[in-house]
Symmetry: C2
Subunit: 307 residues, 2 copies
């Protein structure tokens, strides 16, 4: 099935306790597409870059089966740029630079093929842009998933509340869930948020795993305990990409399938954080990905204790 | 099989954002014994209290099948007392008062029955006391489990390293594992710690669940997402009690059985935090405990995704 990815494609400068990388390719759309490409072939990316963006990066995504014709290249423009530095424990980071550049004028216009997509992943963007994409869909997609952040809750809460009424799956982190709901307990937060519209809610807890709420059920998937985490940048987007890629590959939505999707997202995120930028997501083989998925099964599988 | 519990039996003053309780019964030994009592009948508690300690509390443990004759009552003495106040998010707390009282002179002398126990749970005490208990065992117990804390790593590391060479299972939290190993990654920490002696290592991560390392394998069990946590006091001891109670009830140790034990520990901890002090651990029925265990299975159970 077809997956439409709308999100930033950008340059990042990243410093972690394990090293630094300058002007590497990043952005939510990039991470989502790379992760999803291991599960589904029919991916379209809608984004915007400057003429400074390397063609070989677009070609690499094309080789993974992604249609990059929806990535608008602005002549004379500069790509979105973010620079950040992680704290020692990697649990927090400081943003050093944010240059919106061409992203400031991003106003996606979908092609007929794109607007006919069955699965839609809206990366973190202004709620108004996310809403505009949904409004351009010619038929109701099977799943519209959305990521957002505290910043939009602070400055565009009405728009955000509006778009939440039109999606199926919200993918946010614990801090965002708490701010959006005004509740500390994630269980209570999930109830408040599901009343805003989304049938399913995923709360990402970084190294502490992810929770799925929906259909009156709860599911939890841990993050894989890793010997070394090099760079957490993009892990949340990668998670969303693995999840949505898996859903699009199954074409049948249920709580059970979503659970498997969460595991796929967690597996891809574990590859992501092992290396800098998108490096950990490149050149993986099917066997390698399957092996990582199996590791998750082993990690949490147990025979139910009977008293 | 017989379970010997050595740990404090005490009074606590507790303040959380949800309320306060004064001079309620607490202590590691108390929480461990209450939790274990839902899995195994043959429990002996070795501890020390003052004459201020209520007989009805000892009777309540006796009714749960625990032998409390090893709890020494010091005439004219005062029981160990701890007062603490939790921060808003319950993830941190300030100790307001610690009065060791009779615990300062705790020097356990095991009865012949106690020294013949097959399972031993050493609650957080000075490593020298823990070592003394191990030295009094007349035959090698099937499992010796131990809890400790950063304080002993600061002031009695040599003693702690010594006792770690004589146990099977170390149960500590993530912060303690990092301090003990000098490693931030819990995977690397587990390797350093297992080289110190314990065949199995459990790293508790509070609301983020628990990891089990051993036999070259890793297992993770989440904490149950709860609508309301009233009081986290004793959750770690309760976890250890549920785990060791289950092991003693099975009388067969393997990684598989330990996994189930971790789930039992997590289930009992979830009861514990829902109410103040030991209240959540009292008066549970078998069906209630089994139902909670089943919830954990539902929470993490998924069909392995195949690419």
């Amino acid at each position: 099935m077809s997956l439409l990815v709308v999100g930033s494609v950008a340059f990042d400068d990243i410093e972690t306790p394990f090293g630094r990388a300058e002007r590497i390719v990043g952005g939510a759309g990039t991470y989502i597409a790379w992760a999803a490409s291991y599960f589904v072939d029919d991916i379209s990316i809608v984004s915007i870059v400057g003429e400074d963006f390397p063609q070989k990066e677009l070609d690499a995504l094309k080789e993974r089966g992604a249609d990059v014709s929806g990535i608008k290249i602005i002549e004379g423009g500069k790509s979105f740029f973010w620079a950040g530095k992680y704290h020692l424990n990697l649990n927090a980071r400081d943003t050093l630079v944010t240059e919106l550049n061409v992203l400031a004028d991003f106003d996606p216009v979908l092609s007929p093929t794109e607007s006919n997509s069955e699965y839609v992943m809206l990366g973190n963007l202004t709620p108004a842009i996310q809403k505009s994409v949904i409004g351009q869909m010619t038929k109701r997609p099977k799943v519209i998933a959305l990521d957002t952040m505290n910043f939009w809750m602070d400055i565009a809460m009405d728009d955000l509340r509006d778009v939440l009424g039109h999606i199926d799956l919200l993918i946010i982190n614990d801090e965002e869930a708490r701010q959006l709901s005004g509740e500390y307990s994630l269980v209570t937060a999930s109830e408040v948020i599901s009343a805003m519209g989304p049938k399913y809610l995923v709360i990402k807890k970084g190294e502490h795993g992810a929770l799925l709420f929906g259909e009156g059920q709860v599911f939890f998937a841990p993050a894989l305990p890793l010997t070394e985490v090099q760079d957490p940048t993009g892990a949340g987007d990668t998670f969303a990409g693995g999840l949505m890629g898996f859903l699009a590959s199954r074409d049948h939505i249920s709580f059970e399938v979503l659970k498997q999707g969460i595991v796929c997202g967690s597996a891809m995120a574990s590859f992501c954080v092992e290396k800098f930028g998108t490096e950990g997501l490149r050149g993986l083989g099917t066997i390698e990905v399957q092996h990582r998925l199996d590791k998750f099964t082993q990690l949490v599988n147990f025979e139910s204790p009977i008293l």
